[in-house]
């Protein structure tokens, strides 16, 4: 997927955290350790450094949600991370994003931290971030 396509899909999926621009995707894709896994329905962006991988973002087109696409992308993300030598995966999820939280938990991630008032939505109170981790081996 091109940076433009990534940004277009991201904008369809996220309000908070705010969607990333094509320029931001382009620069992200060239940074150290960053990798992309995509499908017809969405994409996952990861960054592996020194045995730790972070799920930077995971987006599934709203028309293709609730069909296992997120789970498949998460699996592809983990497979690539393991191939690159990661032994532990981390991610952040907004505490009001129940669908994503449930997906991560079902995939074996557990809560490892909390960042109160981390995300700033366009309106309304700030939203906490939940940090989740999963050992990959």
């Amino acid at each position: 997927m091109t940076p433009d396509a990534l940004a277009a899909l991201h904008a369809r999926c996220f309000v908070t955290p705010r969607p990333w621009s094509a320029d931001e995707f382009a620069s992200m894709l060239t940074s150290n350790g960053v990798f992309l896994r995509s499908s017809d329905a969405g994409f996952a962006l990861g960054r592996e450094i020194a045995g730790e991988v972070e799920l930077l973002t995971l987006a599934v087109d709203p028309d293709h949600q609730r069909q296992g696409n997120g789970r498949a992308l998460l699996t592809a993300f983990e497979a690539e991370a393991t191939k690159r030598g990661a032994t532990e995966a981390f991610l952040e999820v907004a505490s009001n994003n129940t669908a994503a939280y449930v997906l991560y938990r079902a995939a074996g991630y557990t809560e490892s931290g909390h960042r109160p008032a981390y995300y700033r939505p366009p309106t309304g109170p700030r939203i906490a971030a939940i940090i989740m981790r999963k050992p990959l081996i």
């Binding site: 009001n96 449930v102 938990r105 079902a106 557990t110 809560e111 909390h114 906490a128």
Partner: protein, 200 residues
């Protein structure tokens, strides 16, 4: 032989007044009365009845256990303030137990413990067996429709569970005094004169 610890536990965090008296592993008395209003008036008469049923008096108690919610704002304050007052006057420890822990007392960890938060939401806390993660609020439909390990939400809190958890903790001198567990900011607008601060 050391006498068995005698623990009185109670909860008014949901629409009930619930109390239990535990001696060692034996439940001497347990009462749960469904009630949406009048918990403050009913609490102490009920506690007296529970003590009488167990054949004990206030001075025989080893520790107090109290449900700290989350749940009904006023209900939680009724019980927590009662527990603190009793602990002070009887000079025995009081232990705050959350509904997350109480309902999951016999459940293997890790478990996602859910407590009703109204408005199609649930309070969620992941219990790992290690350090407790802070609870948060989530959409009820999605989280209760999944196949991950969850327990709750329930519309009651078992006072026996609160008493059993209290029995494992009351000897810890570093334990903070019971305090309400609200999770969500109150719906009511702040009064002009702010409410008294709950001491740590």
């Amino acid at each position: 032989m050391k006498p068995k610890p005698l623990i009185l536990a109670f909860d008014t965090s949901v629409a009930h007044v619930a109390a239990a008296l535990l001696s060692g592993d034996t439940v001497l008395a347990k009462r749960v009365e469904a009630m949406a209003k009048g918990q403050a008036e009913r609490l102490f008469p009920l506690l007296e009845e529970v003590l009488a049923e167990g054949g004990v008096t206030w001075s025989g108690l080893t520790a107090i256990g109290v449900g700290i919610g989350p749940g009904n704002f006023t209900g939680i304050r009724i019980s927590v303030s009662a527990a603190r007052g009793l602990a002070l006057s009887l000079n025995i420890p009081a232990v705050g137990v959350s509904s997350f822990e109480a309902q999951a007392i016999d459940t293997p960890r890790p478990i996602l413990s859910l407590v009703d938060a109204r408005r199609d939401q649930v309070f969620v806390q992941e219990l790992t067996g290690g350090a407790a993660m802070p609870p948060h609020v989530m959409a009820k439909s999605e989280i209760t429709n999944t196949h991950t390990n969850t327990i709750g939400p329930s519309d009651t809190v078992n006072p026996v569970a609160i008493a059993r958890i209290t029995a494992t903790r009351y000897t810890d001198a570093t334990l903070p005094r019971p305090a309400p567990l609200y999770v969500r900011a109150p719906d009511a607008a702040p009064p002009r004169d702010p409410a008294p601060v709950i001491l740590p």
